[in-house]
Structures are given as C-alpha cells and as structure tokens.
Assembly symmetry: C2
Homo-oligomer: 332 residues x 2
C-alpha cells in the first residue's frame, strides 16, 4: 500500500493512534457479545463488513491530544459512537430498502427487516450503556442530543424526497441532522475525555460539525461520480431513491425552462430509467455541477481546519487536519 493510495493515506493519518486502532476491533467484539446468537451473527457480519471507523478515529485522535485521559473511557466512547452509527445504518437499510452496503449484502436482505430493526435498537441501547459507564453527563448530553437530531434529519430527508424544489438551506438542515451532528458530538465528547477547556471543546465541536458537512457533501457527489467498488456501492443510489442532494440542487440552480421541468419530472418518477440518469449526468457535466458542489465541501473543510487551529499543536492535531483534507480529496 503506497502513501498515495487512499488506504495508505488513511494509514498515515492513523499513525499517532495505530495501536489504539488495532485494539478497537477487539473492543467492538467484547462490547457486542450478547446472549442471543442471531444478534451476534448480525454483528459479526457488520464488523467483518469493515467500514472506515471514521467516528472512532476522530475520538481516538482528539482524546489523544491529552495524556491524562482514561484509556478505558476512550474505547467506550469510540465503540459507542460506532454502535450508534451502525444502528442508523441498520435502520436506514430497512428504510431505503438497500441491497448492498460497503460491498456486502445488507443485513436485512439476509435476515429480514425484523432482526435488523431490533438489532439496531440493541446497538443504540448498548451505546448508551457504555456512555453511562463513562459516567460523564456532558458526554451523555452531547451524544443523546445528536441522536435526536439524527432521527429528525432522517425523517426530514424522507419528507423532502422527490422534490427538486428543495433549497440548499433545507439540504443543509438534513445533513446537519443525519450526519454532521454525530460527528460533531463525537468530537465534543472526545474533548471532554481529554479534559479540554470550554474554548477547546467548542473548537472540537465546530471542527466536527464542519468536517461532517463536508464529508456528507462529498459522499453525495460520489453518488454521481464514483466507480462501483470504490465506495462499495453502485453509483446512482441516491438518484434511484429520489433523494434530492446538493448536486441535484446545484443542477437545478443552473438550468431553467424545459430542462428544469424535465429534471423535476424525472425525480417525481416512481421508477426512473437508465436514460433518465444518463441525462442528469450529462447535464451535471455540462454545467460543472460536481465541481461547483465540491467547492461547497471545500468551504466547510476550510472552516473545520480553522476551528481545529484553535486547539494546541500536537501530532494528533496534524492527523485531524490531514483527515479533513482527505475527506474532500477522496473525489479527485
């Protein structure tokens, strides 16, 4: 794996917490063990399915900025935020009726909707157990606030499906809830564990929020740009589900008249066709939509970096800066 490849890049970002990243996988298994074989089976499938462990990595790096942290608490928090994220994936897959996630068949296609909904509930609860064990009300407040925002964000997204009249502000409200809130809360909570002062705590949360917005915008761009395999999912998934993401909003801002009506009608279709997608892709290319959308992601990346510069210098801070760059550079 070379430094230039995406995995090499991530390895170098993980370097200051390399040991912790390895240990994390054991903690996942230890904290997941249940008395119910089916739940264990679903969780093994999810763990083996991998994932970038993006939120745990943030927790490990941010909390490593202080030497005084409790290692046990760091792992509990890192595992808890990944459990919450995984719970939302389990529920989203049922809601979106997905087929594939991270290149693997999704749990509910294998075991059915019922165990997926209930295993998601189990993961949520286990996450809160772990947070209660840490015993810090600031952390509990940050994370439970985020999960509430996540659920509203998901419902908002559902409500705004198919409507190309969705505005940038409405889109930002959705991704703020469904993605950025948990990433921000993970950073704030890690700051608490590191014993940060209020000013640094606020900076950590601001970094997380902007990183999360940037992350989701890039994900939404990749849905119109990636090759099958890179993200472990097929291109056009959002399109097929009628999700109106930033690339669609930017496209609508750049077209008018008949073309505008045509695109609006495509998003209202029950089953859009391959030609519909092709047309949207061509229009996006013609109007430099993905480039323009990425500019927005870059602006949030810049805000994330600016916030992070407020916390004291540290090798972990360098990794967090690099992570912010990595998030937007996944596209190029």
């Amino acid at each position: 794996m070379t430094q230039g490849s995406p995995s090499g890049r991530l390895d170098s970002i993980r370097e200051p917490v390399r040991e912790e990243c390895k240990a994390l996988e054991d903690y996942f298994r230890a904290y997941l063990k249940t008395d119910v074989p089916l739940i264990d089976q679903i969780f093994e499938h999810l763990i083996d399915g991998g994932g970038k462990r993006f939120r745990p990595l943030l927790v490990l790096l941010l909390s490593a900025c202080s030497p005084h942290r409790s290692k046990e608490d760091v792992f509990k928090l890192a595992v808890a935020v990944e459990f919450i994220h995984t719970a939302t994936l389990l529920h989203d897959d049922v809601v979106d009726q997905s087929e594939v996630r991270r290149g693997n068949r999704v749990a509910y296609r294998i075991w059915g909707a019922e165990p997926s909904v209930l295993s998601g509930d189990y993961l949520y609860s286990r996450a809160f157990n772990l947070l209660v064990e840490i015993g810090h009300l600031g952390i509990l407040g940050a994370i439970s606030g985020a999960t509430t925002q996540m659920a509203s964000g998901e419902v908002l997204q559902l409500l705004r499906s198919y409507s190309t009249a969705t505005t940038r502000e409405e889109y930002l409200e959705v991704i703020n809830g469904k993605t950025a809130s948990l990433i921000a809360a993970s950073c704030t909570a890690a700051g608490y564990i590191a014993g940060m002062e209020d000013r640094d705590l606020a900076a950590a949360g601001e970094y997380g929020l902007n990183l999360g917005l940037s992350f989701q915008i890039v994900d939404d761009v990749l849905d119109y740009a990636s090759q099958r395999g890179i993200l472990g999912k097929a291109i056009g998934k959002d399109f097929l589900e009628g999700k109106v993401t930033l690339p669609v909003i930017v496209l609508m801002e750049n077209i008018n008249g008949d073309t505008r009506h045509q695109v609006a009608d495509i998003f209202l279709k029950e089953s859009p066709q391959r030609d519909d997608f092709k047309l949207v892709l061509e229009l996006m290319k013609k109007h430099l939509v993905l480039e323009k959308t990425l500019e927005v992601a870059v602006q949030y990346r810049d805000q994330a970096v600016k916030a992070l510069m407020k916390i004291p210098e540290d090798p972990c801070r360098d990794s967090l800066l690099d992570l912010a760059n990595y998030v937007v550079e996944r596209c190029s």
Copy 2:
C-alpha cells in the same frame, strides 16, 4: 363510570396522583414538539390513541412516596419511560406487521414503515435527552440497561416463534426482557428520584419486575380470552403471529400423542386457519389452560406485593398494591 368498572378502578388507583396524571398529558405534548411536522403528526396520533400510561403511573406513584422529590424530574422520568415504551410499540408494529393497536390503525399502516422506524428512533433519543436532563447516573444506568434487555427480548421472541418446544424458562426470559425490565427500571428510577435508600430501591425494582411478569402473562392470556374491544385488539393476534406464549406452553404440558403433534403442526403453519384457532381454544378450555396460566400470574403478583410491603406505608403504596391486584383481575 362506576368504581367497579375497569376505568373506575384505575381512577381510584390514580387518586393520590390525580393532578399529576392530568398534567402528564401536557408534558407529553411539550416534550414531543419537534421541528418536523410529520413526526408531530405521528405523535399526535399516538397520544390521542391513549394507552393506560401504566409506566408513568408507576413513576408518579412511587416517586410520590417521598415529599422531597423534584416535580420536574418526576415528569421528565414519567414521560421518558412512556416514550421508550411507545418507541418499542412503533418498532414492534413494523416488525409484527400489525393492523390495529388500542383500537386505532397503527402508525405504520397510515404513514408507512420508514417514518415509524425513524419516529421510534426519535422517541428513544428524546427519552435519553430527558434522562440526561435529570442528570442522575443511577437512573440512566437503570433505564439504558432495560432498553438493552428489551431489544434482546424482542429478538429472542422472534427466534422462538412457531416453536411449541419453547419452555417456561425460555418464555420467562423473553417477557423479562421485552416487558418486565422497563417496568422494573421505571420503579427503580422513581425510587432514585424519591431519594430511597438502597433497601427500598431494591424493593421497588423487585415490585416492578414481578408486576411486569404478571402483567405480560395476563396480556398473553387475554389474547386467547378477551372480547374484541376490551384490549382494543382482536383476540388471537399472538396465535396468528406464531408467538408461543405461556398459554401455549401450558397447553403443550397438558396434552400428548397425536394432539400434541397436531398443535405443534398448527404453530408451524404459514397461515393458520380459523378452525385451527378454534381447536386450540377448545383444547385450552378442556385442560383449564387459561386458569392454570393465570395461577402463574397470581404468583408473580404475590411476589410483587411482598416486595412492596418492604417500603414504608403510604397512600401511594396502597395504590401500588391495588394496581398489582388490578393487573391480574383484568381477566375476570
């Protein structure tokens, strides 16, 4: 409404906390208000759908045993446990593909599975927000422990569907998780708010656990005995879903040979018929199954009462005793 009717009886149980019970409905609405109209709509439907507010009543009565409690915390806890209960109903209805609950069409038949799953997630999170606001780690630990048990209990129940080989112990494990754990945790948490000593806290939890077991067993009996309307649900729902509850287990203990095989086969059927249900009902009548099952509920009621006698005398304690009797007498 006379004293002898079920509603009159409940009114008399509620008497010591009558004002609080009324105020509770306003707190539900206040704590539910969201920025998302669809979530509000679903919640209005759920609130209007009523429900006995069984768990909040336990919280109000137990915490009223102390004059030193914070009223605000009492309501936060009462609302939080009802939110968690309602969240599981929303998810269960999707899992069970129910049509009717409390005499009303279930939310997911009106709005679809997606908003029901996500609104359930929202309610879970809001409940934890409220608990974090109370800021008592003992309460947070009790409730988050219960929600973890609930999710395992539900998955266990799913796994044991259709199998008439299910034992009493396995059944008790399921209802302990899915029902009794939250009722027990509600009582323990209310005890914390009332500032109870460890001994009384344990007694409150023990009362709740046994009450919860008794409550669920009676519910399972009513599924083979009630008239449509009393429980707001049709008789035979568990049967149609292939749930092997205590009446079925007791029936299996009382029959053998061909009859035993016949009943086992009925529970394995994809779509059991009206005649199948009739046969099961007749066998239950012949072997006094419901009476024998109720005896088990009465034993748990007795244990609940015994535990409760350990806490100091109080008008609220009298109501809690009466509530334990009411739970088993719903059947007669």
